[in-house]
């Protein structure tokens, strides 16, 4: 069933026309050219992102051959998203966040700011398999119970070295090597006592490889995740779902074939709602950017710092080698243009960060 569905999706994507004219402000969708421009900006500004070629047999001809998708490796994920489940008690703990703009016009509310992790060994926050909808109700219940039991087993599912009996080799190296740093209980945690206890007594630092592809049918970027646990073993789908906020884990995130590889499977956020969400976010940001640009024109002697900010939104990527100076000057003279499409992926990552709150995909927060 799933295979047929995937086949259908790929045919549908193949048949759907390539978006030609820019629609990013109206619909939140972008053209492949705009995807490349936004990707150039992202890779230029944030070195952790790189363009990848992907499998040559899976080349998408509407994108440049060497810019098929964006990739960043080893994105850390310190906690499980399930540990962020909200409770009423900290409803009031709100904090205003301001992104890149000193006027305070565009503030975001971070709710539950001071909230502590509610996850402990007793509540590992396993997301269980979804019971089938078809079939009698008690059947579904039984399945749910079965899934719970499976959930308890999931810990043991991590590779079991008993599979290879007698493989430990004692004679391989003589004695302890004094110059090898002792493996820490938690890889890389400087001071385990200061760090919150996430599960048992270990902080599970997972890492993710994150890919952004262009989805031709939905005309939006699409995000893909491949995860590793703290021992660098690939994560299973239920484990990946632990890092996706509960609102999305069972609905919009699925494991699918990665479009730029012949065989790879990755978790992906389904892009059907991306365009409308992006439109809302862009509208909000655009209003504030336009306001700022208007203010800028009225008072050319605006403070240097706000001029910097303005440039941030208005500038074309200088890495792309376009006529960035000239364009900017013209822009100031002719009309206020609002947010540039180059900024699209930066905004997109902020939106994705709300779906996967504990994976630090949003390296852009520091701007």
């Amino acid at each position: 069933m799933h295979a047929i569905q995937q086949q259908y999706w790929s045919v549908r994507e193949y048949l759907s026309p390539v978006l030609k004219e820019s629609k990013f402000k109206e619909h939140g969708r972008i053209t492949p050219e705009e995807f490349v421009a936004a990707g150039d900006f992202l890779t230029y500004k944030f070195g952790v992102w790189t363009w990848e070629k992907g499998d040559p047999s899976k080349l998408k001809d509407y994108l440049p051959a060497d810019k098929q998708y964006l990739l960043t490796r080893g994105v850390p994920c310190l906690r499980r998203a399930t540990s962020l489940a909200y409770t009423d008690a900290d409803e009031d703990a709100e904090r205003l966040l301001s992104f890149g703009d000193s006027t305070g016009a565009d503030e975001w509310v971070e709710t539950h700011a001071g909230r502590k992790s509610n996850m402990d060994a007793a509540n590992p926050g396993q997301i269980d398999d979804i019971p089938d909808l078809d079939g009698p109700a008690d059947d579904a219940l039984a399945q749910g119970v079965g899934a719970l039991a499976l959930g308890a087993d999931a810990a043991a599912e991590t590779p079991d070295l008993d599979d290879i009996p007698d493989m430990e080799e004692d004679g391989l190296e003589e004695g302890e090597d004094e110059a090898t740093a002792a493996p820490k209980a938690t890889p890389g945690v400087i001071d385990a006592s200061q760090v919150e206890v996430a599960n048992g007594n270990l902080l599970q630092v997972r890492t993710y490889d994150v890919m952004i592809t262009y989805d031709k049918y939905y005309q939006t970027p699409r995000i893909w995740l491949i995860g590793y646990d703290e021992n660098r073993t690939p994560l299973t789908p239920p484990q990946i779902f632990q890092d996706i906020s509960a609102d999305h884990a069972l609905k919009t995130v699925t494991i699918e074939a990665f479009p730029h590889s012949a065989s790879l499977q990755a978790a992906s956020v389904h892009p059907c709602k991306h365009a409308s969400v992006m439109k809302k976010v862009i509208e909000r940001m655009n209003t504030s950017v336009v306001e700022e640009q208007l203010a800028q024109r009225k008072s050319p002697s605006a403070s240097a710092s706000s001029k910097d900010k303005k440039k941030w939104f208005g500038r074309k990527v200088s890495g792309a080698g376009k006529d960035d100076k000239g364009k900017e000057d013209k822009g100031e003279e002719e009309e206020v243009e609002g947010m540039r499409v180059d900024f699209y992926l930066v905004v997109f990552l902020k939106f994705i960060a709300s779906i996967v709150p504990t994976i630090e995909v949003d390296s852009t927060a520091s701007f």
Partner: protein, 329 residues
């Protein structure tokens, strides 16, 4: 003085590597278990600030292999440094278990030592071994990495100051200038190991004798790209680099100033630099014969339980069509 402890490499195998191995095994290797050349790569050590507690969390000291590792001519990803290795895939689990790992390991260390002593080439200092057995029907991959590293006798020691942040080690202006300048030069010509002298010039390790000819020892610095971000442990590559220096220049390397290069980007503030500097010492070996012989080496990767044993990657949840179908909603 405390002994210098190095953070060992930790292998990171991308799932795509196993996919590539599967097709290689079926289409090309078939029943061959020849040793093949392979390329892994490592990047600068990274750490991340935990937003909730504000503490700095260090990410692992990883050496990763991906699908491109099998292709001889592949370029490492930007910002990554290649490590050459040898890869051997066994046909049965029995062969895998019975493999003469000591012989494989000795062969590799012999090769590394040869290249140090005869060609004085630093490119083989990060060599590694990977042995695998692929259970294709169950989507299980058994593997074991070794990152051979020569054991220094007597061990290297670091002075009381330990590994200081590079920007604290120097005066404000010079630190900023020095680090920014090294960053720019490394970006232009990436070198996994390099020499730094006053005036902020860098050069490959191979030119040690001529580059440091007229430089007082206090102004000589040896740098390396450090995959570890731990404040107290430099990364594994330094270990073989020190062995290399000891073997070729025994007279002048009793005390060395080491720069652990950890900055991928120029930070906004001076305090943001993460590179570290330390002065390491070693005493001359007890007898002269030991000085020229190949030192013993260590480096088989341990399991999370700290045992010397292979690891398993179980990709059934991500590869088995039946389980994928169950997963799909």
């Amino acid at each position: 003085m405390p002994i210098v402890q190095f953070a060992p490499f930790a292998s990171l195998v991308q799932p795509a590597f196993w996919h590539e191995l599967t097709s290689l095994k079926i289409d090309v290797l078939r029943l061959s278990d020849e040793a093949l050349p392979i390329t892994g790569y490592y990047t600068l050590g990274r750490s991340i600030t935990d937003r909730e507690t504000g503490s700095e969390i260090v990410l692992g000291c990883n050496l990763s292999v991906g699908p491109e590792s099998f292709h001889k001519s592949s370029q490492p990803p930007s910002g990554a440094f290649p490590a050459k290795g040898h890869f051997k895939n066994f046909n049965t689990i029995e062969d895998f278990k019975a493999a003469d790992k000591t012989a494989l390991f000795n062969q590799e260390t012999e090769r590394m030592w040869e290249s140090i002593v005869t060609t004085r080439d630093t490119s083989s200092l990060n060599s590694f071994i990977l042995i695998t057995y692929a259970d294709l029907k169950k989507y299980k991959y058994y593997y074991w990495f070794a990152f051979p590293s020569f054991v220094a006798k007597p061990a290297w020691e670091i002075d009381e100051l330990g590994w200081k942040l590079a920007n604290e080690d120097l005066s404000h202006d010079s630190a900023c200038f020095l680090l920014t300048s090294i960053h720019a030069q490394l970006r232009a010509t990436p070198l996994p190991f390099f020499l730094v002298r006053a005036g902020v010039e860098i050069a490959p390790i191979e030119s040690y004798a001529s580059f440091f000819a007229n430089v007082p020892p206090a102004e000589q610095t040896i740098g390396f790209v450090d995959p570890s971000a731990s404040p107290t442990n430099p990364g594994w590559p330094l270990r073989n680099l020190l062995a290399y220096m000891r073997a070729i220049y025994p007279a002048t390397t009793g005390e060395l100033r080491i720069l652990c290069w950890r900055d991928a980007d120029v930070p906004a503030a001076l305090a943001g630099w993460k590179s570290r500097v330390g002065i390491v010492h070693t005493a001359p070996p007890a007898d002269a014969a030991a000085a020229v012989a190949r030192p013993s080496a260590v480096g088989w990767e341990k399991t999370p339980q700290g045992k010397l044993a292979p690891r398993v990657a179980d990709l059934a949840p991500m590869m088995d069509p039946v389980r994928l179908a169950n997963q799909a909603v």
